[in-house]
């Protein structure tokens, strides 16, 4: 069966520090991968998605970047965190490309920037 992992589960970082969040998927190959963020009082917002290794699409301009160095690994990064980067970050995967396919979510990382 497929599983999705995210780490760390929680993170407290100072403003201006770098960030690296990792997401890995097991039990499937060539998944579509997604990064979402939920800021306080807001819905889940799609940040990045990837259809393959090295292929990243950004949905909103921001202080973050994403990379996909391996088929089942998706990394969210920042060189210098801002207060506004605080939130709950979710990684998701999807096996197909149809709009009717289900996305499966990881456990999330709660990031607090102080």
């Amino acid at each position: 069966s497929q599983t999705i992992h995210q780490w760390p589960a929680t993170l407290v970082q100072p403003v201006g520090s770098p960030l690296s969040l990792e997401c890995t998927v097991e039990g499937t190959s060539n998944p579509n991968l997604y990064w979402y963020r939920q800021a306080a009082g807001r819905g889940l917002q799609l940040l990045f998605y990837s259809v393959g290794i090295g292929q990243i699409s950004s949905e909103v301009p921001q202080n973050l970047s994403a990379s996909r160095p391996q088929d089942r690994q998706f990394i969210l990064s920042s060189k210098k965190l801002l207060l506004s980067d605080s939130g709950f970050y979710l990684c998701a995967w999807q096996s197909g490309t149809a709009s009717t396919d289900t996305q499966y979510f990881g456990p999330g990382t709660r990031l607090t920037v102080l």
């Binding site: 979402y36 939920q38 917002q45 949905e59 490309t97 709009s99 009717t100 996305q103 499966y104 979510f105």
Partner: protein
């Protein structure tokens, strides 16, 4: 741009009460609709989805949702809630254009008291 509105941010019910959570979206074209649920300590998971056919769809754990195209709505219902339904519920929409980029509502926190 699409948007999704969930009007109830917090709902408190007693066991056996009926539940209806509202969801409205703004996109006028063909859409696929989802309800996701996050139980305490668990991953966000799919509750049910609609993409064609009978506008009344049934999901897991006795939940159902009705797609009313003329009202741009996809309300979630359950005739009799249980304490175990305590969770956060998210409505999501995707354009039926082939690639799934979900747009989520802000979520509704449901607390069911025993």
């Amino acid at each position: 741009a699409q948007s999704v509105s969930q009007h109830n941010h917090h709902v408190i019910l007693s066991e056996a009460a009926s539940l209806e959570l509202g969801c409205n979206y703004s996109y006028g074209g063909t859409v696929n609709l989802f309800w996701y649920v996050q139980y305490p300590g668990q991953h966000l998971q799919l509750l049910l989805k609609y993409f064609s056919g009978d506008p009344l769809v049934k999901g897991i754990k006795g939940f159902e949702a009705e797609f009313i195209k003329s009202k741009f709505s996809f309300n979630l219902r359950k005739p009799s809630v249980q304490w175990s339904d305590t969770a956060e519920y998210f409505c999501a929409v995707v354009q039926d254009t082939g690639f799934q980029k979900l747009v989520f509502g802000t979520g509704t926190r449901l607390l069911v008291s025993p």
